[in-house]
Structure formats: C-alpha cells, structure tokens
C-alpha cells in the first residue's frame, strides 16, 4: 500500500486518560475501500475515531486524513467525513426529517437543498412516512438508520461508522451492509467500520485493523488474513478416509482431520494442484464429496489477537502481523 494512496495516514499517536494509555504510539495507514476496525472493548477504537475527527486532544501524533493535515485541520476533516456515533444520540423535539436537515445545514447545505437532500437520504435508507415522526418515538433500529442518513447527507468522501448494525433486525442489517458496500463500490466512498460483529466485517470489508490495548496488532487485507500460511485444501469424502490420508502423507502432504467438516485438511497444496488429489483418490478408491481452499476464521484470528496469542499462532498471515506490529511499534 503506497502512502499516497492512503486516505488516513497517522504516526505516533498517543492518548492518555490520566494513568491509562488509550492509544500507545499508534501509526497506521488506511487505504481506500471498506476497512473493518476491530478490537475488544476498551481497546481504543472509539478513542481513535474521535481523535481522527478532532473531537479529543491527543498528547502526540500527526498525519493526514483525506487531503488535510491532522490534527491541525480537524474541522475541515469533519466537513468531509460522515460520522455515525455508536451512542444513541438525537436532538430532542425534532422529527426525523428535521434532524437530517439540521445536519445538512450544519454541513453547509442551504435550507432548501438541505431539505431536498435529507429526503433523498431518508429514501435511500428506507424511511417512509415515519420520517415525519418525532425521533424520540423511533425504535433503536430506526435511530441507527437516522444516524446513517445524517452521516451521508453532505456526501462525505469518508464514512466512519461506529457499530452501524447494532439494534437492527436481520433484514435491516443485511440492507445496511448492502448500502455500505454499495457506497464503497458504486460511489467511491471509503468506509471505516468499527464493529464487534465479525460476519459484518467478513461480508463488507476489504481491509482489517485490529486494535488491542491501544496498539495496532494487525493491519492487512481481509484476503491476506483469510489465507493460511500454507496453502491448504479441505477435502470431504464419502466413506473411510484412512487409505486416502495415508496415500496423501506418502505423497508428502501434511494431513490433519478437520473437526468442523469431518473431512481432511491437506496442507502444502495449491488449488490449481487439485488434480493430484483426484488422482490419489482414484488410486485408493475414495469418493470425494467436496474440495475447497481453506480460509482462516476471522473469529479465531480476532480472539487470538485479542488474547495476545497473535504472534505465536501460525494460522495468521505473518505478513499481517509484521506489518501491524511494525506500524504499532509495539
């Protein structure tokens, strides 16, 4: 990732709350696209987001967000960033459409244009007539969609979404993720998605950043993280696998049982070499039900990194660890 491509490029960012280090010498480059910001509670995700928006003062650090110096031009940055806070927040006493129009006007849209654009964003987010109701009567899911409309109304080039799918029912969650993906792929938006819901990250993110204890532990593409160190193929077979496993071992592959599929994990073989598996299966009279390249589980990666096992685990891409550790200087 070239530094000129990065939408966010920060160096040596530290933030302390009294004796607690919320961010420790964090250095990070985030490329365009959808980036998942992961980390256990208290890892510094929200602090990092607020620091990027200039909402809180950091003890050290400098860099660039979009085309603006950070933290010097924080207000310029906020003019070009759409922020969806994690907290349930709303301006009391206003209808939904008024809330969005207020945010539009605060971002510099004129009254009429702000209202027009607010209706457009509420349409996009799936609001009907309920946009004319007081926001205090909205359900949690509706407030999430309202915050999303507000984040989008000034057409920001970067969206920072803090737990955007919290409180949404399954249909709405899928719709929200589709919108996020659509904004990134069809409209050139970059998105930072802070969430605990790993399937959301898996479904929309191109890149992943994992923060633990105020340090960046992992920065890499989701593809790299998902790919095992050794190319591995999962094989499901019909009947007894003993002979087939022995034949694979004799052929020089490492074979382990896969408890999830009740099949075999054949390590050291690329997907394009699958014909060798067919040949060995034919030699041992074994029927293959399914063949697929193995992927690392994001859940497992997250749990390992969070629990501090990341450096030792072999199923996380070393490239990711070294990059992340390098940036974090930890």
């Amino acid at each position: 990732m070239g530094s000129s491509d990065a939408i966010i490029e920060i160096e040596s960012v530290s933030k302390r709350y009294g004796a607690i280090d919320a961010l420790r010498d964090v250095s990070l480059q985030i490329p365009p696209g959808v980036t998942g910001l992961l980390g256990p509670n208290g890892s510094g995700k929200s602090t990092l987001i607020k620091a990027l928006l200039g909402l809180l003062h950091v003890q050290s650090g400098q860099g660039r967000v979009l085309d603006y110096d950070w933290p010097r031009d924080a207000r310029m940055i906020r003019d070009h960033v759409g922020y969806l806070p994690e907290d349930d927040c709303y301006v009391a006493g206003m209808a939904g459409i008024e809330s969005v129009a207020l945010m539009a006007r605060l971002s510099g849209l004129s009254g009429r244009e702000g209202l027009r654009r607010s209706h457009e964003m509420m349409d996009y987010c799936g609001f009907g007539e309920e946009r004319y109701r007081d926001v205090e009567s909205y359900s949690t899911g509706m407030r999430q969609k309202l915050k999303f409309s507000q984040a989008l109304v000034h057409d920001p080039s970067l969206l920072i979404l803090d737990e955007p799918t919290t409180g949404l029912d399954p249909d709405q969650r899928i719709a929200m993720l589709r919108r996020i993906r659509n904004l990134a792929t069809e409209h050139g938006k970059s998105v930072i998605l802070s969430t605990h819901i790993l399937p959301d990250v898996r479904s929309v993110c191109d890149h992943v950043v994992i923060l633990v204890d105020g340090t960046v532990r992992v920065v890499d593409t989701l593809d790299n993280l998902s790919r095992p160190i050794e190319p591995t193929i999962l094989v499901s077979i019909v009947g007894d696998a003993t002979l087939f496993a022995e034949q694979l071992t004799r052929a020089g592959y490492t074979v382990n049982p896969d408890p999830e599929t009740n099949g075999l994990r054949v390590e050291g073989i690329q997907a394009h070499q699958a014909d060798q598996l067919w040949r060995l299966a034919a030699e041992t009279n074994t029927s293959i039900r399914r063949l697929e390249p193995a992927l690392n589980s994001l859940d497992q990666i997250f749990m390992d990194v969070a629990s501090g096992k990341s450096m030792a685990k072999s199923d996380i891409t070393p490239n990711a660890i070294s990059r992340g550790a390098g940036h974090a200087n930890s």
Binding site: R75, R78, D87, D88, Y90, L102, G108
Partner: protein, 332 residues
C-alpha cells in the same frame, strides 16, 4: 442515466460559509422553543408592560398643549419617581427635560418589568438548552460537523438572546419610535439620537452575563431541573441577601429609629449608608447599577467599575465552564 432513482446520488455544490453555521443552531433552537404554546403566551404577557412607558411618553408629548397634564406629570415624577429636579424641568423647560424623561421611562421598563420577565423567560427556556443535549448525546451530532465549542455555545446563547431581544430590546425601541412619532417635529431625533444606542448597550449588559450564567448552569447537569433551580435561586437569594443586609445596616445606622424608613431610601443615604457595599451580592442590583450608568442616570456616588467587573467575570467564567464541560463530554 435513470429518469428517477431513489438510490444514492453524489452531491457537489456550493456550501455556505462556516462562520454562519452557529446561526443554524440558533435558528433551530428558536424554532423548537417557538412550538411551545405556553411560551408564546408568556411572550405576549411580557409585552404588556410596554403600555406604561408608552403612555408616559404620550402624556409628556401631549402635555405641551395641556398645562394641567404637565403639572400632573411633574407631580408623578417628583413623588413616585423621586426626581424633583426633573419635575421642575418638565414644568420650566419641557424640551430640555425630554431626553432625561424618555431615558428614565425606558430604564424603568428595563429595570422592573422586563428584568423580572427576563428571569422568568430564561428560567423556562435556558436550562434545557445544553442539559438536553447532554442527556440525549446530541452534542455528538453537533460536533460531528465542523463546529467549534465556541460556535456551539454562541449558537445556543443566541437562542436566548433572540427571546430577550423580543421582550426587551424590540419593545424599548418601539417606545422610542413612538416618542419620535408623537413629538411636535422630527428635530427631537437630534436631541435623543443616543437613546437607541443606549437601549442596545443596556440590552447587551442584560443579555450577555445572564445568558452565559444560565447556559453554564444548563451545562453542569443532564437534569434540567437542577439548572432551573440554580437559576432562580441565584436571583432570589441575591435579591434577598441584598435587601436584608442593606436594611439591617440602615436600621443599625439610624439607631433603631424605624422612622427613617418612612422617608425612603433617600433618608438612609443622608445617614451616610453605603448601599453599594452589598450590591455585588445581587445580580439584580448589579445589573441595575450598570444599566443606570448606560442610560446616564446613575445617581449613586460609587463607581460602576466593580459592577462591570462582576458582570464580565460572570460571563468569562461561565463561558470557560461551558467549554470545559463540552470538551470533557467529548473526551469520554
């Protein structure tokens, strides 16, 4: 390209300047408060006292053709308003008395009915201004936009300024305009041109420290009732403390002779009682001192500087508290 598309569309048009964005907060705040029917009723009631200075100015201007009415006005000015020199001037040289009489009537409008209306109005609208934002975390929405804490405070304060201007500045200006229209000719404008400026200055004296204090109370808690209580307590306790302390001093100085009280404040001042000593305890009396000075009608011997300093300190300290509270909330 679709004829109609409810999907996302990019938007790249001219944006308004950043410095006007605090007025978006102010406009929204005013619009939200304006929806309360009872508040509109309070505003209507707050306009009623305008009748008194308007009638006073009307009577004064009309008295140039009616000597009996002139005598009647002079009597009122001499006794209830306790200004014998002005009363004599009204009879002997009404033209020269005009400026002082108009100023006196407008100052009285500022000092008595409108100061009371101001306390009530701010007590009803200000406590919710920031405390509700703290409770509903709306400050996160505001500060996700390119606003500074100063602009946010300015926008919130402007909501109160608008309503105070509605009940104080606008009616006072109308009274002045009425006086000009009722006067024999427009040369009166040359005599009284400074009164509108004094009205604006007195309005600023009234609005800035009181709004700052009320908004500071509002920022201290997410429960607006505490801010309401603190606001009314400040005025009531200050007023009562001043009255008790000055009365006690007067009684002691007069040797327990309550007869001095019958003669009013003037008699106590003859006893060299320093009424300015306790004034700074009471926001009501501190504001009154500065407003009297603004209208050029301050008759007390003490300097206005301590009262001005108190009001400036309240304003600066309140701004500092609000800013600190907001930044602290954002840091969580």
């Amino acid at each position: 390209m679709p004829i109609h598309d409810l999907g996302y569309r990019n938007w790249q048009e001219e944006r308004t300047a950043r410095f006007v964005r605090p007025w978006v907060i102010a406009r929204t705040g005013v619009s939200l408060i304006w929806r309360r029917r009872w508040l509109r009723n309070v505003l209507m009631l707050a306009w009623l006292p305008i009748v008194v200075p308007a009638l006073g100015i009307f009577a004064f201007e009309y008295s140039s053709t009616d000597p009996e009415l002139q005598q009647f006005i002079a009597q009122i000015v001499r006794k209830p308003l306790a200004q014998p020199e002005l009363a004599s001037q009204i009879v002997n040289d009404p033209e020269a008395a005009r400026h002082q009489l108009w100023s006196t009537l407008i100052l009285a409008f500022f000092r008595y009915p409108q100061l009371f209306a101001m306390v009530v109005l701010i007590g009803l609208i200000a406590p919710k201004l920031i405390s509700y934002d703290l409770r509903t975390k709306a400050y996160l929405m505001y500060f996700s936009r390119p606003l500074s804490p100063f602009q946010y405070i300015l926008g919130k304060s402007a909501v109160i300024w608008f309503f105070l201007a509605m009940i104080v500045t606008v009616p006072a200006m109308l009274v002045y305009l009425l006086g000009v229209l009722l006067s024999p000719d427009l040369s009166v404008v040359m005599q009284t041109w400074d009164i509108p400026l004094r009205i604006l200055a007195a309005s600023a004296v009234l609005m800035i420290p009181t709004t700052a204090l009320a908004v500071a109370y509002s920022s201290l808690s997410s429960e607006s009732r505490y801010a309401t209580f603190a606001w009314f307590a400040t005025w009531a306790m200050g007023f009562v403390a001043y009255q008790v302390l000055t009365s006690t001093t007067a009684v002691v100085a007069s040797g327990g002779d309550q007869g001095g009280h019958r003669g009013g404040r003037g008699n106590w001042e003859d006893l060299d009682i320093d009424f300015d000593r306790w004034r700074l305890l009471s926001p009501y009396h501190t504001l009154g001192k500065v407003q009297s000075w603004v209208f050029g009608l301050d008759t007390s011997s003490s300097t206005v500087v301590p009262a001005v300093l108190v009001l400036v300190t309240i304003s600066v300290l309140s701004y500092w508290i609000i800013r600190k509270r907001i930044i602290a909330r954002l840091s969580i």
